[in-house]
Amino acid sequence: MIRRLLILMLIMLPAFSATGQQQSMPVTWDYAGTSFIDFASHAETSLPVRFYFRSEWVVGLKMPDLGEAPQLKEVLDAAFAGRNIHYHSDDRGNIIITGEYSVRPFGSVATPEGRSLPQTDYSGQESLTVTGDNQVYDIGNPSEAGRSGIITVSGYVRDISSGEGLPGVTVFVSELAQGAATDGNGFYMVNIPRGSYTVHFSFLGMKETSVSTRVYGSGRLDIGMAETYIPIEGAVVTARKNDALRRLETGLEKISIATLRLMPASLGETDVLKNILLVPGVKTVGEASQGFNVRGGASDQNLILLYGAPLFNPSHFFGFFTSVNADIIEDLHLYKGGMPARYGGRLSSVIDIIPRNGSTGEFSGKAGISPIATHVVLDIPVVSEKLSALVAARTTYSNWIMDLVDYPLLNKSRASFQDINTRLVWTPDKKNSIELSGYYSFDAFSLNNDTTYRYANTIGSLKWNRSLAGGAKLSLSASASLYDYNIGSNDIAEKAFDLSYGIHYTGFRAETDIPAGEVHHLNGGIESALYDVMPGRLMPAGESSLVSPKETGIQRALENALYVEDRLTLSESLSASMGIRYSFFSAIGPASVRLYEEGLPMSNATVTDTILYRQGKFYRTYSGPEVRLSLNYMITGRSSVKVNYNRTRQYLHLLSNTVSISPTDIWKLSDWYLKPQVADQFSAGYYLNIPWNNIDLSAEVYYKPMRNMIDFKGGAVLMMNESIEKEIISVTGRAWGAELMARKAAGNITWSLGYTYSRVMLRSISPHESEAINSGRWFPASFDRPHDLSLSFNYTVTRRFNFSFNYVYTTGRPVTYPVGTYQSGGLWLIHYSDRNKYRVPDYSRLDISARLLGNLKSKKLMNPAWTFSCYNLLGRANVYSEYFIPDGRNIRAYRLSVFARAIPSLSYSFDF
């Protein structure tokens, strides 16, 4: 059992006085021969002290007999004598026990008894775990002091409570303005000249740790970081969010799961993707709709990576929930602006879901229940410190809710979803680690016992990381991601059918990361992906079905990419990144390509010829470079300017002719007619840290032209369509905007306020006037919402109680209104024109959430947490869409709201 506390945060504070000023604390009870744990708990009840320790340090420790009523200090000194256990007590009665090394508060002198920090091993092989204090640590052999040249400091950054390596921690040497990030195992490496430095370790959701070092030579510095959510009484921790200032890319958001958990959740489920809608520049067509739009990009232009593989449908329950369980996530990186060269394949954004590794220390678990679903996650250290397993599962039980509702259609309907994640991480030695991950999500939906919809994502991934000499790293990974759906109907036996669709991705990546001297840091690799799309198979269901089997041919394509990127530290204040990615895409036969008469709209009537390509023939290849550039200039230590340019190419298109994407939309590969989508993004940003209250300000602007996007002719049938090119209208777009953000990320009260002004306009490009949308004029995209304000606030009232709220305001989305009515076939019909000329009313929503943790006593089996949240507290009926139904000569206009009132929910979870 662990005393959960941030011992080490205490230590770094000068507020604590030196040892030896204790008042008289006689030990009056029968202590001799008791275990230390019993002794400590007795002492806590009898004396004004509190103990903080790890149980493994005191295993088997029996208290010595020092006669009647000795002073507490004497007992402790005697008990720890000869053991590698040290303690520190402050003037508030906190007694902090440390294993392995002692605590030396600021200003104190090392105790002569040798209980201070053990001497640093200058060989550089042995490591010390440092958690940040005001002490100066020596790295390397002091005899080398005065030599010049670059040396390497490396080590692991671990979560102090679980011992797990922390990936993605920013390591920053402030004097050099040079940084690095930890890899998936928490390992980092910086190449710096010898000298004295302050090294900052920062990571969202963790307390920033700063270590003063004197670097004499290459050596090891291991860091223990502590979570933020239990602040120390009386401590004022000033976290410095250097991240935004120093990293190269504009438009990168890191969201930690700890932050997500505090945010209000709709229907009680922590939703990893819904919360990114609070990030400036991220929008959605409407709430509860699948998909989101990043900086004017369509919703198929976001690459969601889970275990390194693309996740094709990240939604459960038709978009109401994200299909990735929050329990398995470490954090989330959203790249909306500058995109590193290692990412490609989508135009607008990458969401890299960084999975959590199972604990290698202790078995633990967590389970929870919300109105919609129940979930459980287990951390299983299979082999201590070597092999960890993480298993998480989630399932819904909404079916019984449907039965409760007094509504016949629903009673006969069924909806369910499940998802399962497993992850094994094997670290045979410090140089190697192997990760094996698996994911499966499943949704089933049936209405009125009639049509059944099923869809499933399956991901499997294997990755090998290896550390090489000189701080270089190599990783090899192979992964597969499958998305399949199936629609079945047996309402009428003669018409019963079974329709299925699938897209299968198989990918391989080899990547290396080479720190090359003081200036360069290289990252490069190759990536290869094979796509198989089964665009549709219609089968009769049952004996009496008259449905004739039909299968559209499998589409296959290979997408390869080669990339290299150099992150340059040009001077103390200037850094840059130059990357290039070259992607090749080949559509592979068999295929039949219809040729159409030139100069006429494509239709069945204008087909002139059909070319058949044999199996395995690369019948159409597209390729192109994607340049990724960024430059960061630190004006002062607290402000910086960045500029970015990147080009992205996308070979995979989601065919959707609806406002919101649906699970039955189909992914289509580029082929003879369907060209890759291409976007350029120019962005620039200014970042400022205000020392007062430690507020980060940022302003980013971007301009993004896009081309070869797709839209469809009215009413196009996309499913089972063998010649989709007839239905496609090519669209170009341009998006621009400014994003302003103010954020306070540390302290009891944290908040962020974002405002975005952005536009996205589209124009159809067609040589045939009859096909052009809005006669070829620019029109706003359905997700064009110029003004967007979001405020998120979190107040940690006490260590157990936490309150937060979100407020969102956006301009209403564009809609198309009728321009007239006419009579046809005895009916009055509505004629629409001028796409997206009007807008629905503005959107405004307030959510609140409060979390109460169980008591913080250590001696209990479970750590329960209650979360109450209320979505749309104001009960505002935000309009999702406006639509029109003819009623004779008149037109009736309706507004649809998805969540028209406040939705409270209560969920319960516990750690064990």
Binding site: L538, S548, T658, H831
Partner: protein
């Protein structure tokens, strides 16, 4: 596959969604010519209806549409002119022109400024309706979640030749209604009302091995109308339509009647097969359809369900004859019934609605000629509705 729409509705009911009506502020208007025409294999007068797109709000614009001549051309080079009719339509001469299956036809309109033409469309043969039947059913007729009882009229058909793959159905319905009171003051008590289908009912059988249509819903007649009280008749017309027309009607159906859901398409302009040949930017709405037609009629009578009192509104007051004759109620009231049970004074039951004494105000008092010929068609006697 449009079930996704219902999924949305389901989801919005499960979650606290809502739909409200509002008055949109629509500005601007658009000009477009609307042409609606169909030729069939029946020996009947074909009608080409030409109008203008009407603004959403406001006055009807001038009926002048600038079309001076209308004709249909076939693939054998014949041209059949249509003549202008007083109501703004152009009509064919059924003694000269009857379209034939297997032939191709196109429509040509000539105006003062532009010439409009459709493509050639082949007339596909249509099979007979195999059976037309009705049965009691609980259905979500008005809106999801609110079920109501009524009779579902459905049909089966099949085309052994497999030529007809795209079907469309329309119907016209006629029913007899009687006021539940008799009196010599009434002008007409028994009448017939008629209505036409007001939806787009189409189906394609391209995904099936054979062109077979089973349990195709045609109409749902709820007990909440007066249709089934006495006797009801429905005449269903089955059309073969071209693939282009099927796509067009399907687009219209989706755009006009199924918009607004999470998974519904963005509405847009839908134009048919008639184009302005000298100026492609001129928008033409409507469609020129070429269809073979078959018909079947179904009668429903002796329905033993309980119906609401549809004529409760007629009886507004019961007054003494003396008071009425003294003119206390003005001239705009109508006597429905006289009622006298001595020794009480005689009473009149009055209405302010003239149609309550003369049903020909809301129907026709002329019995349709086929009304008693039910032997010629199949008479369906529906058993008593067990529910109500």
């Amino acid at each position: 596959m449009n079930r996704l729409y219902y999924i949305l509705l389901t989801a919005t009911i499960l979650l606290p969604g809502c739909v409200t009506q509002f008055v949109p502020d629509i500005t601007g208007e658009e000009k477009a010519l609307v042409v609606e025409a169909r030729v069939t294999d029946r020996n009947e007068t074909y009608v080409v209806r030409i109008s203008n797109l009407q603004p959403v709000y406001g006055e009807y614009p001038e009926p002048y549409v600038g079309i001076s001549s209308v004709s249909v051309l076939d693939d054998a080079g014949n041209e059949y002119p249509f003549t202008y009719h007083y109501d703004g339509t152009f009509r064919s001469d059924s003694t000269v022109f009857t379209a034939l299956p297997g032939r191709k036809y196109k429509l040509r309109l000539e105006g003062t400024e532009h010439v409009y033409e459709s493509d050639f469309i082949e007339m596909k043969p249509v099979p007979c309706i195999d059976s037309l039947y009705a049965g009691p059913e609980e259905n979500e007729f008005y809106r999801p979640g609110q079920t109501t009882w009524g009779y579902q009229v459905s049909l089966d058909t099949h085309d052994p030749s497999g030529e007809c793959r795209f079907y469309m159905w329309t119907y016209s319905e006629t029913w007899e209604f009687r006021y539940p009171y008799r009196s010599p003051y009434m002008i007409n008590r028994i009448c017939w009302k008629s209505a036409r289908s007001a939806d787009i009912n189409i189906l394609n059988t391209t995904s099936l091995d054979e062109s077979r249509v089973i349990k195709q819903p045609v109409a749902f007649i709820t007990n909440e109308t007066d249709r089934l009280i006495v006797k009801y008749s429905i005449l269903v017309r089955q059309y073969s339509i071209s693939e282009e027309e099927f796509i067009y009607r399907e687009n219209i159906r989706k755009t006009v009647f199924e918009s607004g859901g999470l998974y519904d398409a963005i509405p847009g302009s839908i134009t048919g097969n008639i184009k302005c040949i000298d100026d492609p930017s001129q928008e033409v709405l409507g469609f020129f359809g070429v269809s073979a037609v078959s018909e079947k009629r179904l009668f429903i009578e002796n329905v033993q369900a309980q119906f609401p009192d549809f004529y409760a509104y007629c009886r507004i007051d019961t007054v003494t004859v003396t008071a009425y004759q003294n003119g206390h109620y003005g001239p705009d009231v109508y006597i429905l019934l006289e009622w006298w049970e001595p020794p009480a004074p005689p009473y009149y039951i009055l209405s302010i609605h003239k149609e309550c004494t003369d049903c020909s105000m809301i129907g026709t008092a002329v019995k349709p000629d086929y009304w008693d010929e039910s032997g010629q068609f199949k008479t369906v006697q529906i058993p008593r509705d067990e529910e109500e």
